[in-house]
C-alpha cells in the first residue's frame, strides 16, 4: 500500500477503537447484585424466615418468579436471532416446548409406580393400553440423558430447519410465516395421542425430580436459583456472542446481507450458529419451566405463545438483550396480576401497553436507559 500511502498527505495515526468489556460498570453491578439476591437472599427469605414475616417468600412467589425468569431466558434467546440477526421467529415456542417435553419425559419416569394406575409406564400409556415403552422413551429415566435431550432435541430440530430455510435464502416475513407454520404443525402432532407424548393433556402430576419431592419448598428454591443462574449465564453468553466478531458479522447480515456475501462471508453458518444457540437456550428455559409449573402440554406450541415471546422482546427493546428480560418480566408479571384481578381486561391492558410502548418508547424499555447515539 506504499503508493496509496503516498497519496495521503498526513502521516497515518492509529485510531483503533477501545474494546469495551461485555457490560458497562453499571451492567456488571446490576448483574452481580441480581446474582447475589438470587443465590443468597431468595433462599434465605424462602427457607430461613418464618412464614408470617413480611419478607418471607411463599411457594406462589417462588413459582411466579421462576416462571418469569424462564420466560426472560426465552426472550433473551429470541432477541439473539431477531434483534441481532434480523430473523423474526414466530415459532420459538416450539423450542421452549421441546426442551420442556424432554424434561417432562424424565419427570414422568420419576413418578414410578405412584401414578393412578400404579404401573411402571406413565399413566397415559396405560390409558392407551400400551404394553411397553416406545423406543423414543428409552433412556428417559436417566437425568443425564434428559439433560442431553434438553440441549440436543431443540438444537438438532433448529439446525435442520435453519439449514433448509437459510440455504434457500428464505427471508423476512416468509421465514416468519414458515416458523409459525412449523410450530403449529408440531402442536397438531403433539396433540395426537398416538405420538406418544400424552396428547392433549401432555405431562403433569409430577412427583419428584432426582428423587426429591417436586412440590417441596426446598426443591422449588433450588429450581429458582438454578433458573436465575441459567438466565444470567444465558445473558452473558449472548452478550459475548454479539460482542465478538461473529456478532458483528451477524448484525451486518441483518443490515446488508448482500454486502456481507460480497465481502466474502458465507452467511449460512453464521445464521445457523445463532439460530441454533437461540433454540438451545429456549429449550433450556422450557426445561426449567416444566418442573416449576408442573405441566407441559401442546398449547405451549400454539402460535399465540410464540407471538407473546415476540411481544416481550419488542416491549423490552429489540437488540439489547437486557431489555427483553425486563419486557418478559413486565408483560408476564402484569398478565398474572390482571388475569387474576380483572380477567376480562387483560387483553385491553396488553393492547394499551403495546400502543404506549410503540408511541412513547420505540426502542422499548431499554431505550429509556440507552445513552446518546454515538
Amino acid at each position: 500500500m506504499n503508493a496509496l500511502a503516498d497519496l495521503v498527505a498526513a502521516p497515518t495515526r492509529l485510531v483503533a477503537p477501545p474494546r469495551p468489556s461485555l457490560f458497562s460498570r453499571t451492567g456488571w453491578a446490576v448483574l452481580a447484585a441480581a446474582t447475589a439476591v438470587n443465590c443468597v437472599l431468595v433462599p434465605l427469605a424462602a427457607l430461613a424466615l418464618p412464614a408470617d414475616s413480611p419478607f418471607a417468600l411463599s411457594a406462589y412467589w417462588l413459582t411466579l418468579g421462576g416462571r418469569i425468569m424462564c420466560y426472560a431466558l426465552a426472550a433473551v434467546a429470541l432477541d439473539l436471532v431477531w434483534g441481532y440477526c434480523g430473523v423474526l421467529s414466530l415459532g420459538h415456542g416450539l423450542y421452549f416446548a421441546l426442551g420442556g417435553y424432554a424434561m417432562g419425559m424424565y419427570l414422568m419416569r420419576q413418578i414410578g409406580r405412584d401414578g393412578v394406575y400404579g404401573s411402571d409406564l406413565p399413566d397415559f400409556m396405560v390409558f392407551l393400553d400400551w404394553k411397553s415403552l416406545p423406543w423414543f422413551w428409552q433412556g428417559s429415566d436417566s437425568f443425564l440423558w434428559a439433560l442431553a435431550m434438553i440441549v440436543l432435541v431443540p438444537g438438532v430440530v433448529a439446525f435442520v430447519f435453519g439449514w433448509f430455510a437459510f440455504r434457500s435464502r428464505v427471508k423476512g416475513v416468509y421465514l416468519s410465516i414458515i416458523t409459525q407454520a412449523f410450530t403449529y404443525a408440531a402442536m397438531l402432532l403433539f396433540f395426537r395421542n398416538d405420538t406418544g407424548f400424552g396428547g392433549n393433556n401432555g405431562f403433569t402430576d409430577f412427583k419428584r425430580i432426582l428423587g426429591f419431592p417436586i412440590a417441596a419448598i426446598e426443591t422449588r428454591v433450588v429450581l429458582f436459583v438454578l433458573t436465575g443462574i441459567a438466565l444470567a449465564a444465558g445473558l452473558v453468553a449472548c452478550r459475548a456472542i454479539v460482542r465478538s466478531k461473529l456478532g458483528r458479522v451477524v448484525s451486518a447480515i441483518r443490515d446488508a446481507e448482500t454486502r456481507v456475501r460480497f465481502t466474502g462471508y458465507d452467511p449460512l453458518p453464521y445464521k445457523l450458529f445463532v439460530w441454533t444457540v437461540s433454540a438451545v437456550l429456549c429449550g433450556i428455559a422450557g426445561a426449567l419451566y416444566v418442573p416449576q409449573v408442573g405441566i407441559i402440554n401442546p398449547s405451549e406450541m400454539a402460535p399465540a405463545q410464540s407471538i407473546e415471546m415476540v411481544i416481550w422482546v419488542a416491549m423490552g427493546g429489540r437488540g439489547t438483550l437486557a431489555g427483553p428480560v425486563a419486557g418478559a418480566a413486565i408483560v408476564s408479571g402484569a398478565k398474572s396480576y390482571f388475569t387474576a384481578a380483572f380477567p376480562e381486561f387483560w387483553l385491553f391492558f396488553l393492547g394499551a401497553l403495546f400502543v404506549a410502548v410503540t408511541l412513547f418508547l420505540p426502542r422499548g424499555v431499554a431505550g429509556l436507559f440507552a445513552r446518546r447515539e454515538r
Partner: protein, 280 residues
C-alpha cells in the same frame, strides 16, 4: 480459441496444451493464473429475464492490472454483466473465467469475493449500524470461517492497515461514527474502503462517483489511477468527465453486447457509438 483453459488448477495444466502457460509453473488452489495477461474473461455470455435479453452473446477480456471503463446507455446490460461476474445472476449461456483457471460460474457470491473480486454497488451498500472502523475491520482480508470469528481479535498490524485505509478514503475523522450517519459521498468512499480492505485482484465499480462532490470525484480518480497496474479495475460510469479523466480503454455496451472498444477518442469517433449513445 484452441484449447479451453482447464478448470483444474493442478500440475496437469501443461496437458491443456496451447502455448507455454502450462509449463514450468504449478498453480495452487484458488490462485489466479494470469500467465496470459487476462484476468477476467467473458465468452459468449447471454442472460434473459422473462424473454428480455439483458446480455446477448457478450464477450469481454480484461487484462491484469488494467483500468477499464464500461459505458453504455441505460439497459445496455452493464449491471447485469457485474451480476454475472460476481455470481449474483447465472447466465443462460457462456463462460466466465477469472484468470486462466477459475470458473466463476461454479462459485457462489461469497466464494467469488474470497477469490479476489470486489464489487461496489450502484447504491452505496455499507454496514449501516456499524462504525466506519468496524466496517473496514469486517472487510479486512482474512479468515472468513465462522468459528474463527468467535475468538477473533484485531491485531496491531490489522489496526494499522485499517488506519491506512481510513486515510486513503479520507474518513479518519469519521472512524467511530455509525456508517448510517454518513453523507452519501462519504458512504461511497467507505464502500471503496471496504473493497480495498479485501485486497481484491479485480475491482468492479458500479457508478462510483454518483453523489460525490467534485473534490471527492477528483480524489477517487487519483486513487484509481494510482491503483492501476496493481489491481485490475472495471468501472461502469455515466459521468463522462470522470471517464475521460481515468480511462485508457473504454468498452461501449449496447443491447447486451459490445458495440465498440478502444481509447475514449476512438470510441467517440465511432459512428455506431455516436448513433446509439452520445446521441445525435
Amino acid at each position: 480459441m484452441s484449447a479451453l483453459p482447464s478448470t483444474r488448477p493442478a500440475s496437469d495444466a501443461g496437458a491443456a496444451g496451447s502455448g507455454f502457460a502450462g509449463y514450468g509453473h504449478v498453480l495452487h488452489e484458488g490462485e489466479v493464473d494470469v500467465s496470459h495477461r487476462v484476468i477476467l474473461y467473458l465468452d459468449g455470455v447471454s442472460v434473459s429475464f422473462d424473454g428480455f435479453r439483458a446480455l446477448n452473446d457478450l464477450s469481454l477480456a480484461i487484462d491484469d492490472g488494467e483500468l477499464r471503463c464500461v459505458i453504455g446507455p441505460n439497459g445496455a446490460g452493464k449491471t447485469t454483466m457485474m451480476d454475472v461476474i460476481t455470481g449474483r445472476t447465472r447466465p443462460d449461456e457462456g463462460r466466465v473465467f477469472f484468470g486462466q483457471t477459475i470458473d466463476l460460474l461454479r462459485m457462489n457470491e461469497s466464494a467469488i469475493a474470497r477469490g479476489g473480486i470486489g464489487r461496489k454497488f450502484q447504491k452505496p451498500t455499507v454496514f449501516e449500524q456499524h462504525t466506519v472502523w468496524e466496517n473496514l475491520e469486517l472487510a479486512l482480508k482474512g479468515d472468513r470461517r465462522w468459528w474463527r470469528s468467535l475468538s477473533w481479535r484485531t491485531t496491531l498490524d490489522e489496526a494499522r492497515r485499517i488506519d491506512e485505509l481510513l486515510a486513503t478514503v479520507q474518513l479518519e475523522d469519521e472512524a467511530h461514527r455509525t456508517a448510517g450517519m454518513l453523507a452519501h459521498g462519504q458512504k461511497q468512499r467507505l464502500e471503496i474502503g471496504i473493497l480495498l480492505a479485501q485486497e481484491p485482484r479485480l475491482l468492479l465499480l458500479d457508478e462510483p462517483v454518483a453523489g460525490m462532490t467534485d473534490e471527492e470525484t477528483e480524489r477517487l480518480a487519483d486513487l484509481l489511477v494510482a491503483l492501476e497496474g496493481r489491481q485490475s479495475i472495471v468501472v461502469v460510469e455515466h459521468d463522462m468527465a470522470f471517464v475521460a479523466r481515468i480511462a485508457k480503454r473504454v468498452t461501449v455496451l449496447h443491447e447486451g453486447g459490445v458495440l465498440a472498444e478502444g481509447t475514449l477518442d476512438e470510441v467517440r469517433a465511432n459512428e455506431a457509438v455516436v448513433e446509439v449513445y452520445l446521441g445525435r
